[in-house]
């Protein structure tokens, strides 16, 4: 559904048009029917990538195809629904008028348009009184729901959402999450960026992590977290002197608790305990979360 290969994008700003490389050799493949999470810190290139996909930004080099068509071609947008980060709309319209406007732009009219609006609002739990109020009175959460509703009106094959959960309360987040899952069950491919990594972990089939314009990790959540290895937290009945700790084993803060960086370190520690008659009280394995990995990648990029 989405094919990005060796994508480069430079922004030029200021009087001297100083270049800044925003995307550096980005490559991504999103298969049909997937929910694809796109994560990274602010300014990493998430929105830039999304805007290239929707034809809002030109790019320097590389290959970008959406459903086999270049985003430079208007036809590619027939299959796309897009909701930008912090969506802004014509505030002199009501929510319903706005949806009618966008619905007509994707070729809907008459009863079909009204039915589709009702469906979209119900899916997002936005079929409330406020939908007939002017948009200038809307909260951020209401705006976000209307933004997603306008994106799905045309029943797109690919739904691109830039930070769809931002500005939503926990109920709103749950509603959007459920809407994403339901649309996906109906066969819609979803490509979305988010800061809320717990949501990304729970609903994404695959995830790409972008830091400083480069894709640093890509795969399923399990593949990404497994690739970083598993830590073992071991608690012994008596403390092990710091100088005697085997390689790859470090104190965890508590005198009787140590952390083994990987399987080999765990084996070295267990061997040490057996040799020295130290009883192991408890051992837990802990896989790093996406947040841990992202934090580590950001630190690496900063360094």
């Amino acid at each position: 559904m989405i094919q990005i290969e060796h994508l480069h994008k430079t922004y030029r700003s200021g009087f001297l048009m100083k270049p800044k490389l925003a995307l550096k050799d980005v490559s991504l493949h999103v298969e049909s029917g997937q929910i694809y999470g796109f994560i990274g810190p602010n300014g990493a290139g998430k929105s830039t990538t999304i805007k290239v996909l929707t034809g809002l930004l030109n790019f320097d080099s590389g290959k970008v195809l959406v459903n086999g068509i270049s985003p430079r071609d208007v036809k590619s947008r027939r299959f796309i629904g897009y909701s930008p980060e912090q969506p802004y709309f014509y505030d002199y319209l009501t929510g319903r008028e706005l949806l009618q406007f966008y619905g007509k732009l994707v070729g809907l009219e008459g009863n079909l348009l009204n039915e589709r609006i009702t469906w979209a609002l119900q899916l997002l739990h936005a079929d409330k009184d406020w939908i007939d109020r002017r948009l200038r009175s809307y909260s951020k959460g209401m705006m976000q729901r209307v933004g997603i509703a306008q994106a799905i009106l045309g029943k797109p094959k690919l739904l691109i959402l830039d930070e769809p959960m931002s500005g939503l309360d926990p109920m709103g987040r749950r509603d959007v999450r459920e809407a994403i899952l339901e649309l996906n069950r109906d066969g819609v491919t979803i490509f979305y960026s988010s800061h809320l990594l717990s949501d990304v972990e729970s609903i994404s089939h695959r995830v790409a992590m972008i830091v400083d314009g480069r894709i640093v990790r890509e795969g399923t959540v399990d593949e990404i977290t497994d690739s970083c290895g598993i830590e073992y937290h071991v608690r012994t009945r008596t403390a092990i002197p710091a100088k005697d700790l085997p390689e790859g084993v470090a104190l965890a803060g508590h005198p009787q608790e140590v952390i083994c960086a990987d399987d080999a370190a765990r084996d070295r520690l267990l061997r040490y305990c057996l040799d020295n008659g130290i009883a192991v009280e408890k051992m837990d394995h802990k896989r790093p979360s996406l947040e841990d990995i992202l934090t580590e990648e950001i630190a690496r990029a900063d360094a």
Binding site: Y11, K51, T54, G55, L56, L57, N58, V74, K75, R77, R78, I80, Y82, S83, P84, Q86, P87, Y88, F89, Y90, Y92, L93, F101, Y102, K104, L105, V106, G107, G147, Q150
Partner: protein, 267 residues
């Protein structure tokens, strides 16, 4: 077919947006006030009352239309970019040229409605003051409409790549150049015939005036107030050829605006 439909939808939305703009009402009220004031001017003037009312009201129509075309025209595209509504709009299956043409037609419709309302007021004033409300006056209003059609296209062109203030200044510049280019050329040729300037400077200035005359739209063609007020006939096919001329310029300006706009990045 689909493109025409999209243009219509965007034009309708632009019309709806513009008629809710406070600037429009301020300019409209000012125009109505000035048109009514033309009655007083007619009474005070040493000239023929009907002449004063007709020429003043036509000038008011032209000026108020110009203000709407420039002030609403330059903000049409900029507002979409600044408020970031352009992001959602251009992610739909519409080309950037469709967007530009839709915006243009929406504002043109606003100007048409503005002129239509003022025409009603204009004729009411002429009837009430018994000032010979002839049908030929519509010719002048028709040409004002096409003049404004060109000005809106200029405003859209500049606003597709520059800031609001610069766009307003550039558009005003084109407006004045378009009105004065003919006079400038005639004056230079006159001075040249009278031998008031040296040969080199005359040739250089004349070339410059010819370039200005050729490049800028000749908006002076659309001011026929003196003809219609005095009941003089316009040359044959004047309306037709000047309509074609305006459409040609509008086409070129919108094509450049669309080309430029399609190269823009929207952050």
């Amino acid at each position: 077919m689909q493109t025409l439909k999209h243009i219509g939808i965007i034009a309708l939305n632009t019309f709806r947006e513009s008629i809710r703009d406070k600037i429009l009402y301020n300019i409209g009220l000012l125009a109505v006030g000035l048109a009514l004031f033309s009655i007083v001017l007619g009474e005070w003037s040493v000239f023929d009352r009907a002449y004063v009312i007709k020429s003043t009201t036509l000038s008011v129509m032209s000026l108020s239309g110009l203000l709407i075309s420039i002030f609403v025209g330059i903000s049409l595209v900029q507002k979409e970019i600044q408020r970031r509504t352009v992001l959602t709009l251009l992610s739909k299956p519409i080309s950037r040229a469709t967007f530009i043409v839709g915006k243009y037609l929406g504002l043109l419709a606003v100007v048409a409605v503005h002129l239509a309302l003022l025409t009603c007021i204009y004729y009411s004033i002429l009837f009430l003051t018994n000032s010979e409300p002839t049908v030929s006056l519509l010719t002048a209003i028709y040409l004002i409409f096409w003049e404004l059609a060109v000005v809106i296209a200029v405003a859209l062109l500049f606003s597709s790549f520059s800031s609001t203030i610069l766009s307003a200044l550039f558009t005003l510049g084109v407006y004045f150049a378009g009105h004065l280019s003919n006079q400038l050329l005639e004056q230079i040729r006159f001075a040249s015939r009278m031998g008031e300037m040296g040969d080199t400077s005359t040739a250089l200035l004349e070339k410059l005036a010819v370039v200005i005359h050729a490049v800028f739209p000749g908006l002076y063609r659309y001011n026929v107030t003196s003809y219609v007020v005095h009941g003089l006939a316009l040359p044959d096919m004047y309306l037709f050829w000047n309509t074609v001329y305006a459409i040609g310029y509008v086409g070129v300006f919108l094509a450049i605006a669309s080309w430029w706009f399609s190269r823009r990045d929207f952050l």
